[in-house]
Symmetry: C2
Subunit: 398 residues, 2 copies
């Protein structure tokens, strides 16, 4: 995976931070205390109702729609949105001084066992909304933090410290700084933040400019939800994991690779992807997170000034997530484009020539591929959809 060897616990490369395979698998220590402290999601598993968490997203998606729509929040002055109301990824406001204040907030419950990586992933995810606006630089970050009430004090201190360290390291790698925040105790640990940048005309990309004939770029593969859940099944030795192995669908090594690829992807910053959008004349962008590829594609289409829709013809997926999905052990809706992603890639509408140059330059900077996965078409119904005979790309560890 890297020229530096896998024995080093944490490394920086010119491409930015990459966790080691051991970090992703969490076989990092045989020392019980550290091990317990590192197993963050254990705090969630203790909770008998934790299964509910997996349904949170749909619920809160519906809830947010209900609440935001019915209360008619906002003042119609949000920029880069179709109706001027609540924004797509960020709040984009014209300041009294004539500039633009672009701001976003997001916070997360653990989905990996390493608090350090959870902190990294949380920061990458918060910053990603800003990058989706074609911004490469974040001016400052506020940190949202909940320490886990149900841990021993020692575990809580270690876990919280490691989460913050991961969050802070990712912010430093992004060239920004944590300047404040809030800390509470909660049954479930939380890490997240607020990312803000103030910029001038021409320094960001409004999210509403997609044109017929544009292609659609995606900068990270799909499948993080599949990988994280298979990892949980494996670690907990659940019936689903036993079914996967008994039917020889997936080996332990493949599951570890899959989790490692997901963790590498989730902790990678979309900074370069965002920073290159203005240069390559991007028309509109968003990032792929909880609603899945098609969910976010639809949000993006709903937000366009022109009457456009999106046809998706290619699904780049983390290696082996597709065969897990096809096994029928669990329906993540990955191939329908609705599997939730965490800290997913940017999805950008731009001219085809621009897109090719964008992908080339981004691969040089990130050391990771980006793909043209669809095209923008004229469509009064503004529909985003996957075409028949979709092409699936299996994306292995780079």
């Amino acid at each position: 995976m890297s020229e530096n060897g896998s024995s080093k616990k944490q490394r920086k490369t010119s491409k930015g931070y990459k966790p080691t395979r051991e970090e992703s698998a969490l076989d990092v220590s045989s020392e019980p205390r550290e091990r317990i402290a590192l197993r963050m999601t254990v705090s969630l598993r203790r909770d008998p109702q934790v299964a509910v968490r997996h349904r949170c997203l749909t619920h809160t998606g519906l809830l947010a729609n209900l609440v935001l729509t019915s209360l008619n929040l906002g003042d119609g002055q949000n920029l880069g949105t179709a109706n001027g109301k609540i924004a797509l990824d960020c709040s984009v406001r014209r300041t009294r001084q004539g500039h633009y204040c672009i701001s976003t907030t997001d916070f997360f419950f653990p989905l990996v066992d390493s608090p350090y990586l959870q902190g990294r992933i949380g920061a990458a995810n918060v910053l990603s909304d800003l990058y989706a606006e074609g911004v490469g630089e974040c001016d400052f970050v506020l940190m949202l933090l909940a320490a886990c009430r149900d841990m021993t004090e020692d575990d809580r201190n270690i876990c919280t410290r490691e989460m913050v360290r991961g969050f802070n390291d990712a912010c430093l790698e992004a060239g920004t700084t944590v300047t404040g925040g809030q800390t509470v105790l909660n049954p479930w640990p939380v890490i997240g933040g607020v990312a803000t940048t103030i910029c001038s005309d021409g320094e960001f990309v409004k999210s509403d400019g997609a044109q017929v004939g544009d292609v659609v770029v995606l900068t990270k593969p799909l499948g993080t939800q599949v990988a994280v859940n298979v990892h949980e099944w494996r670690v907990r030795g659940t019936p689903k994991w036993k079914e996967l192995t008994n039917r020889s669908i997936l080996s332990r090594e493949e599951a570890e690779d899959m989790m490692h690829a997901a963790v590498c992807s989730m902790s990678r910053l979309n900074r370069h992807g965002g920073g290159l959008m203005v240069k390559h004349h991007a028309h509109a962008g968003t990032d792929v997170t909880g609603f899945g590829l098609v969910g976010h594609a639809q949000n993006l289409m709903d937000n366009q000034a022109a009457e456009v829709g999106m046809e998706l013809h290619t699904l780049p997926c983390i290696a082996n997530t597709v065969k897990v999905e096809q096994s029928g052990v669990f329906d993540f809706r990955l191939l329908k484009g609705y599997s939730a992603e965490t800290s997913g890639g940017l999805m950008i509408c731009m001219k085809e020539d621009d897109a090719r140059r964008y992908c080339e330059e981004l691969e040089l900077l990130d050391g990771e591929k980006a793909w043209i996965i669809g095209r923008v078409i004229a469509d009064p119904d503004r529909k985003a959809r996957i075409v028949e005979g979709i092409k699936i790309l299996e994306v292995g560890l780079s």
Copy 2:
């Protein structure tokens, strides 16, 4: 309490929103479903470990110190702080365009049973940090929201909607607007937000300019923690409540008045208090919340450019909170100045003449008193303390 009569459920006066006595006491309906939905803190009480919540503040205060200090967050470029690191109430950053971006975030678990009022109080509390910087106008707000996992779907929808409505109404009253945010499901409901303003030189007050000879102004009375807890004791019929009544320390009506005064105070915006600071040449300010009066006074002194300390000679307290404290039923540390406040007043250092004019003008705008409660002295130890023979003011409902 008001010239409009108490039968109207929600009112706006020229002084801003004030809850009715019924709203504060929550005897708002005999209809079971609405009643359940309105009893937000029930969701916390169900939790066997909820008692831990009362100790959260100390824990997270210590934790935040541990984490923030040990990780050396920030880049030394925060303005208005002694060391340029993590800010007192807000992150204050000079923008690339030469202005100032003042930003703060805060989120809360329910401490009143009405989700609407909890939303109001949450917004007032978030905005207060901005007002403590001498800013009267908030440019925009992002909303942080967690719907309660442990409610029925109906209750959850009603509660969440009401929280958001209260939050949004308070933002509208503050002349600002909700432009984005984040919604999740959590064992405990959460409401909070991010308040941001971009301003120019001379439009805000740096928090580090207190001078020897300044007096200290406080814009809301103390005792919200006492009132909220006594209310819980009464509603739950706990031994502490029985002790208070058996010993004839407090009547039911006094407890209701106390809670009502606390709810009125917590849901009142500090907007006018913040907006008048520049006009009246305030030198430094903060707001009084979780660390109590003396805790925040100490934070403020630790943050001053000059070697100054603070002597507090007057404690304005919500009526009857003092006799509850003195009864010995529970030690809130109110008279020591460490009782936690929620959405408390601004504490401002300014010249005595300015302070008198500030208090007069503020009373005209808010219809509520502000007090001179202490003075700034030369002190190389930078100590904030309560003087011997402190004067206690009992503040009744206005």
